[in-house]
Symmetry: C2
Subunit: 201 residues, 2 copies
């Protein structure tokens, strides 16, 4: 019986199209904003606008940054021997959160997928090979999802590195039991990998 659509309805629709937000959550958020301080929603709106206006790809690794070169690439204190290859910028945050890696990163911006027409030209692969050729990296670590696309991408790029005669060690993240997991619930493929990749106690 509503006569016309208000900005409330439109904004609920906008929020619903964000990942992980359904219509009910979107409605809760919009009413929360209506009750919240004007300052808060202005800041939120301003930062959403600023995000697209100020963030672009790092000239070196391809991650999102607001300067020409991102904070990691511009940090000379990191380990110049190691290059970690990831699919997306958000993967860098996840690896950084472990505190177990001190090297540099390279963002592929996707994975190879011939079915979807995504070859190495569509990804950030050739700039990576150039970095390897011009830099002094001793090891490339593929930190890609343990999926068919992830494995294919790692194998393909490893072949390219080999074909170009580069003397760089290529590794990937270990597959195996998740810490705190239960043998009973681990799939066969993972168990096989964890047997093949067993480590001394």
């Amino acid at each position: 019986m509503k006569t016309s659509e208000t900005v409330i309805d439109v904004l609920i629709k906008n929020f619903s199209s964000l990942p992980g937000i359904g219509r009910k959550s979107a409605s809760r958020i919009v009413y929360y904003l209506l009750n919240a301080d004007k300052n808060f929603s202005d800041t939120l709106a301003g930062n959403i606008k600023l995000l697209k206006d100020s963030i672009h790809s790092c000239a070196v690794c391809g991650t999102y940054t607001d300067s020409e070169v991102c904070g990691t690439c511009g940090n000379p204190a990191r380990d110049g021997n190691l290059l970690c290859v990831v699919e997306n910028p958000q993967d860098i945050d996840i690896i950084e959160s472990t505190g177990a890696y001190e090297g540099y990163y390279h963002v592929l911006k996707g994975l190879l997928s011939p079915i979807d027409g995504i070859g190495p030209e569509q990804l950030n692969v050739f700039p990576m090979l150039k970095r390897l050729e011009e830099g002094n990296f001793k090891e490339v670590i593929f930190a890609l999802n343990p999926s068919v696309e992830g494995e294919t991408t790692a194998l393909y790029i490893q072949k390219m590195i080999e074909n170009r005669g580069m003397k760089v060690k290529v590794t990937r993240l270990a597959s195996g039991l998740p810490v705190g997991g239960d043998l009973e619930y681990v799939d066969r493929m993972t168990l096989t990998r964890s047997l093949l990749g067993r480590t001394s106690v």
Copy 2:
């Protein structure tokens, strides 16, 4: 090892403070926005800003609207005999979604809570009594949460209506078994109410 906080980090924090959104969801949303069309995030930002600039309380019922009087209050086709009293503007959407109600609404903007210092003066109670006095409503329906605060608020306002000698029927939503529910899992209080309020088959 990050040198400074980017707008990505700030925006993740902004989104995390919205209801129902944790740090991980907030991060997913921000990276989604980074990959999305600039048009989409501009629209989202613009509508968030517009929300606070254009939405205010309806002069009649107190719900959120972008005009002086909301679409429901300004609709002469609705049933002028019925006034439904709700706690928040979002409750109107919920009741409208049933399609079972054709009357008008009044938003209390909260419930009585003496412990928190919320008396009738802090709520939209007196304008409601004025509407009842000046209008031709035959029935006031309290559609408040079946909580202690909801019951107290309904009883208190009903007393006020009585004391002013208004000839208006006061009702509240039925308590009882949820449709599709199971007798076994219904609490004693609800079952008692559903017995007292039993209806003929």
